[in-house]
Each structure stands twice: as structure tokens, then as C-alpha cells.
């Protein structure tokens, strides 16, 4: 097949804008997800039933339904609470498709990441906690000095996968009028009816995902160096 590069060259500016938006979506969502993950993991591992039940329900909800439905729920659903949101002074945030997308992605990704981190912590032998207690370390010191450094090594490959999934998932924001990379590509297609743009798109995504995987491979190496 003869690949016509003019299609990409002509639209380079637009594609670059879309790429930047994808990057911003993924970066911001991942950062926010990391914050939400902390209380979730604590809840899932709690001895009290109430935090366990709440975080369990959260995880079931966000892992059991499609991200697209969650995005619609947050973006369109928030419109029904406009008076309340205006009263709270946050309506300008919920009116914005970018903010709603980041919120949906962060809440969704946090559910998956929390299960991942919980699994990594559970996988450590009980002796690690006991040894730390015998050394007189408090709960927080145990977590920071003993448990987390080991758990991160277990969770890191899975976390890399989660970031890749997040990058792929970010392509659905065109459904809420936010045109990131795939959205831009869809627009180019509907203007030119040239299907080779999809092959270019696939190549671009393969490069992005390969870069993420390479980054995590390097990160893993630095964690596994001993």
C-alpha cells in the first residue's frame, strides 16, 4: 500500500494539539488517581467493616461498569445538580469537559490501582510487619520504610499496564466534545474519507504506548537494581 504522508503533514498541527491534550488528560488523571488511591487502599485493608464496605462498593462500581458510562454520568449527570454546584462554587469546573474527563478517568483508574496496590501489600509475608513491630517501628514508619518499598516493586509492572490502559481509554473523550488525538483523527477522517489516517493513528498510538512501556521498564530496572 502506498502511504500518503501528505495527510499527516497537512494535519500535523492539529494532530500535535490532539497529542498534547491526550498527554495532559493522562498525566493529570494519573496524578489525581494516585491521590484517590491512598484512602481507597487504607479502606480496603481496614479492620473496621464500614471503610471496607465503602471502598469495596467504590471499587465494584468503577470496575464493574464501562468508563464511557461513568464519563457520561459525571459530565451530563452533573448538569442536573447545577443549582447545588453553583451554590458550592464549583459549577465552572463541572461545565468543563476536560475537568469532567480527568475526574472520570481519575476515579476509574484509582479503583483499579487500589486493587493492584492492595494485592501487592497483601502479597508481602506477615513476618515483615512482625519484624518491623519487633524493631519498635510505628504503623506509619513500617509502611514507609518496610512495606511500601517492597510493595512498589511488586505493583510497578501492573501499574505500567494501568497507565497504558488509561492512555487508550483517554480516546473516548470525543463523546463529550473533547477532541484529543483520536478525536482529531476522527475529524480528519470525516473531512477526507481517507482510511489511511487510521493506519497512521495506529502507528502513533503504538509509538506512545511503546514509549510508556520503555519508561516503566527503565523505572523497574532502577527499582530492581539490588
Amino acid at each position: 500500500m502506498i502511504m500518503d504522508t501528505s495527510l499527516v503533514v497537512d494535519n500535523a498541527g492539529r494532530l500535535y494539539e490532539g497529542f498534547k491534550l491526550t498527554l495532559a488528560l493522562v498525566g493529570l488523571s494519573a496524578a489525581c488517581a494516585a491521590i484517590v488511591t491512598v484512602p481507597l487502599v487504607l479502606g480496603l485493608r481496614s479492620n473496621a467493616w464500614a471503610p471496607r464496605a465503602v471502598s469495596g462498593a467504590y471499587v465494584t462500581f468503577f470496575r464493574g461498569s464501562p468508563l464511557l458510562a461513568q464519563l457520561f454520568l459525571i459530565y451530563y449527570g452533573s448538569g442536573q445538580f447545577r443549582p447545588l454546584l453553583e451554590y458550592l462554587g464549583v459549577w465552572w469546573l463541572f461545565r468543563d469537559a476536560f475537568f469532567c474527563s480527568v475526574l472520570a478517568f481519575a476515579l476509574n483508574s484509582a479503583a483499579y490501582t487500589a486493587v493492584l496496590v492492595k494485592g501487592a501489600i497483601d502479597a508481602l509475608p506477615e513476618g515483615q510487619w512482625e519484624a518491623a513491630a519487633a524493631l519498635g517501628l510505628g504503623w506509619f514508619a513500617t509502611l514507609r520504610k518496610v512495606i511500601l518499598p517492597q510493595a512498589i516493586r511488586v505493583a510497578l509492572p501492573g501499574y505500567g499496564n494501568e497507565i497504558v490502559l488509561l492512555t487508550k481509554a483517554s480516546s473516548i473523550t470525543m463523546a463529550v466534545t473533547l477532541y484529543e488525538l483520536l478525536g482529531v483523527i476522527k475529524v480528519i477522517y470525516s473531512r477526507t474519507f481517507d482510511i489511511t489516517i487510521y493506519i497512521w493513528a495506529a502507528a502513533i498510538y503504538i509509538v506512545i504506548v511503546s514509549a510508556i512501556r520503555l519508561g516503566f521498564a527503565l523505572l523497574e530496572r532502577s527499582f530492581f537494581r539490588w
Binding site: 464511557l68 452533573s78 442536573q80 463523546a175 483520536l182 495506529a202 498510538y205
Partner: protein, 234 residues
């Protein structure tokens, strides 16, 4: 409640038909996804270098490309191809591929890429002795695969394939964007007509959660059944 009920003015029937289409799209993607995934897994262990590179390339590519891009590419690409073929025969047509077919075909391509990983792990879990025993019985490669290796590999692959099924079920929501009247689209239509955004989208999420919970229950039963020879009497 009357919003999602089955009485007049309720959207119950359209939601139910949407759910049926959702499950239909997922089930249609399954046979090709499983079979093609197995072929990719076999290709990845093949002695031929070319076959190995092609299979690994396929698996990596379709795990990296967003599902939505695959769906668009198949949907528009197949329609384009058919119109091209038809115009070659001097028939002008604006016929497009049915969304259900394009959607489940695209999802099966993605499913194949992910399931090849599962199959690869399952095939690695079968001891060498099984292959050697099959060979010493004089079974050919394909027969030993069919009656010796696969029945055992299937049990090992089942939990992983179950997870992929649940992911597949949720990914079917994406085909609403190529206008397939599955559950998500039916909810969108109801929302457009009633403007009850929050309740209806919450209902949509819950609908999918019910589907995934039912799947988990059935898969657990299947797992128990597949490993029933390993359970010891109490």
C-alpha cells in the same frame, strides 16, 4: 421508577433490547477472539522466526491501539473496501457494514491479542511429558493438541479468559459510538428524550454491573466445574 419500567412511557423494553444487543456483540466476538488468540499463541511459540515476529507484532500492536480506534478503522475501513469493490464492478453504492458485525469483529481482534497472552501461559503450564506421551502414542501434532493439550490448557486459561470476557462486556459500550443500538445507546436515546441525565446514566452503570456480576458468578461455577477432578473429598 416508571422511567425504567415496562409500562407506557417507560423505557424498560428499549433497555432490555439494548442489553440483549450488548451481550450479543460480546458473544459474537468470542469464538473468533478465542480461536484467533490461540493461533497467535501457537505462532508465538512457533519454530519459524517469521511467524513468531508476526504473532508478537500482532499481539503488541492490538494491545497498544485504543479499542475505539480499532472499531472505527474496521467500521469505516470495511465499508470503504466494499464500496471500492462494488465500484470496481460498476455498481455505485453507499452501503455500510452493519455496526454489530463491524463492532464485534473489531472487539474480537482486540480479544485475540489479549487472549494470546493467556493461552501462552496456559500452554506453558502443560508439562513436557504430556507432549512426549502424546507423541509416543503416535498422535500427530494437531490431534495431540486437540485431545491432549487443549482440554488441560483450557482449565488453566479459564480464569484469565474470564477476566477478558468481563473487559469485553464493558468494551461493547464503545460500539454505541458507531450507532449500534446496544444498551449504552438506548440509554443515550432515553436521556435525549427525557433529560433525566443523572438517574439514567447511573442506571446504565448499574446495568453493566449486573452483567459483570452475573458473569463472575457463572465463571466461578465454570472454574469449579473445570477443576472438579482436583477437589478432594472432605
Amino acid at each position: 421508577m416508571e422511567l425504567v419500567g415496562f409500562s407506557a412511557g417507560g423505557w424498560g423494553w428499549s433497555f432490555l433490547s439494548g442489553l440483549v444487543v450488548t451481550v450479543e456483540v460480546a458473544i459474537l466476538a468470542l469464538p473468533l477472539g478465542l480461536f484467533f488468540g490461540l493461533l497467535i499463541a501457537l505462532g508465538r511459540q512457533s519454530k519459524s522466526r517469521l511467524l513468531r515476529i508476526a504473532s508478537i507484532g500482532y499481539a503488541n500492536a492490538f494491545q497498544a491501539i485504543p479499542e475505539l480506534l480499532t472499531i472505527f478503522a474496521i467500521y469505516h475501513g470495511c465499508s470503504h473496501l466494499i464500496q471500492l469493490l462494488m465500484s470496481g464492478l460498476d455498481i455505485q453504492t453507499s452501503w455500510t457494514v452493519p455496526g454489530v458485525a463491524a463492532g464485534s469483529f473489531a472487539l474480537s481482534l482486540v480479544f485475540a491479542a489479549y487472549s494470546s497472552e493467556i493461552w501462552l501461559g496456559a500452554l506453558a503450564g502443560i508439562g513436557r511429558g504430556q507432549y512426549e506421551a502424546a507423541m509416543s502414542l503416535g498422535l500427530s501434532g494437531i490431534v495431540s493438541l486437540r485431545i491432549v493439550v487443549l482440554p488441560q490448557a483450557f482449565r488453566l486459561a479459564l480464569p484469565g479468559l474470564g477476566n477478558l470476557w468481563i473487559i469485553l462486556l464493558k468494551d461493547t459500550a464503545l460500539v454505541s459510538l458507531i450507532s449500534v443500538s446496544e444498551f449504552m445507546r438506548e440509554v443515550n436515546l432515553a436521556v435525549a428524550a427525557t433529560h433525566r441525565y443523572f438517574v439514567l446514566y447511573l442506571f446504565a452503570c448499574l446495568g453493566y454491573i449486573v452483567l459483570t456480576k452475573i458473569s463472575e458468578f457463572v465463571l466461578e461455577r465454570l472454574n469449579l466445574r473445570a477443576s472438579r477432578h482436583l477437589v478432594r473429598a472432605a
